[in-house]
Amino acid sequence: MTVLLEGAGLGKSYGGVHAVDDVSLRLSAGEVLGLIGPNGAGKTTLVDLLDGAQPADSGTLSIRGRRLTGPPSRRARAGLARTFQHPHLALDLTVRENVLLGAAAPKLAGVGGLLGGLVAGAFRPSGSRFDGTLHRVAEALDLGDLRRRCGDLTLGEQRLVEVARALAQEPSVLLLDEPFAGADAAGIAAISAAVRAVREQGCGIILVDHNVDIVASLVDRIMLLRFGSVVFDGDPAECMASPEMQDVYFGTGGERVVP
């Protein structure tokens, strides 16, 4: 399997707290990696480091063997897409427009793309050349009426729209930060199906979630984080049975108290 994303020695501290401490990871094409751990384990911080939303204090990152640096927009153009723990949607805009952002973003990159987008907008405002992508993604996630305002949607529907926007970017690496939180059963099924579908196409996916059962059913490999460090990395079934897992989630070890 070709390695898509590779991170080595990633670290991030806030004051004296090591939110992410010397984490190395490797994601292959067509692989789903589950990232689990209790609150404050550093899951979202790690996603932010991969995506560039926060600069890493240490470590290196590469995508398909090329260094991955800079702001999130540059990493997105290198093939990275993400969703947020709390949905980041423009609530005044429609479902279609929010998904359109993901599809159209590569065309708006750089100064030339922005000026081109500004001028082109005055002549061809509909953005209908992205309709193919929009309808494919909308169908995959069963988004319903695309003309609804995102502010009128439930949290679960907003999750779907956010996943749709990320899929519209046609990424090679997809970072999903708790995509199931707030989604109903149908939403969970739709997102799971979409994850399996893009995995079939060779996309690498990192899935962060609290819901260990859903994660275990979807992923090929699990990384268990605690206090910013990786305490287990391997097969999901092994992870569930491992003493580390018992320790983190049930505190059988009892020697450390989670603050």
Binding site: A81, A90, L114, L115, R124, S126
Partner: protein, 342 residues
């Protein structure tokens, strides 16, 4: 289910296209109406010209501020640069005046980008503060740089615009200015609905998501700050050409304060709200003789009232009312049909 949705939304696109055509033709008719209304009446020409200038100023502000949330307060400077570009080109060179519009627009855009770039890593407050200070300093510069700007006297006897070998009279020129406003408003409103406009509006509320999708938010902000300054500068250039004179107190900071509220008054939901707001401001501050001195006060109270009663501005309110009426009518029709059935 989703196939149905796809068909439905492509149908919606067709509908939007026809509504778009209607909007373009309707606003063109209104523009032609204003041109006919102004006619040969000098006072009405003045009002139309001022309205057009304010409209370009408001449209220049609408793009970065109302769509992307980037508030620049140096608009009096951008408008003045457009005006002085015309003055300087007309009196110191033999170049055609349209070149002055271009030079003014480029200079204003460059300035706006520079000021935006200097504050790009700071919060929006710093952009507002820095540009406001720049606006104040620029006013002093216009007074002090006597060799270039003519100091307090400004630049007079600016030659009229020549097109195809003939000088345009004031009436024709103002008609062309109003048509230019129409073109810019149509363009800005189309940009609003384009993928670029969608990214722009998203960057106001969720900049992190726009970044994560692959659009550099700082670069996008700078682009619209520059475009907005260029549009405002065009307003200053056209105003100066029509009046054939420009001075340091032609465009003051007071204008910026008016410009912020024009789109709010007219309705932020569309670029036409900015134009409507500009027309209302002219009406409130110049055409109501009884309120002569308190025009700005009336304007302030009007803005407050509109924001409290109809946060979507006048156009937003009108749209809501239309939808409500249409809903009532459709329901009434449905009930009738039901009643007619045996």
């Amino acid at each position: 289910m989703s196939a149905v949705t796809a068909r439905k939304s492509s149908g919606a696109l067709g509908w939007a296209r026809s509504a778009e055509t209607g909007r373009i033709l309707g606003t063109l008719a209104l523009t032609l109406g204003v041109i006919a209304w102004a006619g040969a009446d000098l006072f009405r020409q003045d009002l139309a010209l001022l309205g057009a200038t304010y409209a370009l100023l408001a449209l220049g502000m609408y793009l970065p501020f109302n769509l992307a949330g980037a508030l620049s307060l140096a608009y009096s400077a951008y408008v003045a640069i457009g005006g002085y570009a015309v003055g300087l080109v007309a009196t110191k060179t033999g170049w055609p005046l349209p070149l002055a519009y271009l030079l003014g627009a480029v200079a204003s855009a460059a300035l706006a980008v520079l000021l935006g770039f200097a504050t790009r890593r700071l919060s929006g407050f710093y952009l507002a503060a820095v540009t406001l200070l720049f606006g104040v300093a620029f006013q002093s510069f216009l007074l002090d740089a006597k060799d270039i700007t003519g100091g307090a006297l400004g630049i007079g006897s600016i030659r009229p615009l020549t097109l195809f070998g003939s000088e345009l009279d004031r009436r024709t020129f103002i008609a062309l200015t109003l048509l230019a406003v129409w073109i810019v408003a149509v363009a800005v409103d189309r940009v609003r609905r384009s993928p670029f406009g969608v990214a722009l509006q998203s960057s106001r509320d969720v900049p992190a998501a726009v970044e994560a999708a692959g659009v550099g938010v700082p670069a996008m902000r700078l682009t619209v700050l520059g475009a907005g300054a260029a549009i405002a500068s065009l307003g200053g250039g056209l105003f100066t050409t029509a009046n054939q004179t420009i001075g340091p107190d032609t465009f003051t900071l007071h204008l910026v304060m008016l410009a912020i509220f024009m789109p709010l008054l007219g309705g932020q939901g569309s670029a036409w709200g900015a134009v409507l707001g500009a027309v209302l401001v002219v009406e409130l501050t110049f055409n109501l003789q009884i309120f002569e001195r308190s025009g700005s006060l009336i304007f302030g109270v009007a803005v407050l009232a509109v924001l409290l009663i109809a946060p979507g501005g006048i156009l937003g309110f009108a749209g809501q009312a239309t939808r409500w009426l249409r809903g009532r009518l459709a329901r009434g029709k449905g009930a009738q049909e039901k009643g007619a059935r045996p």
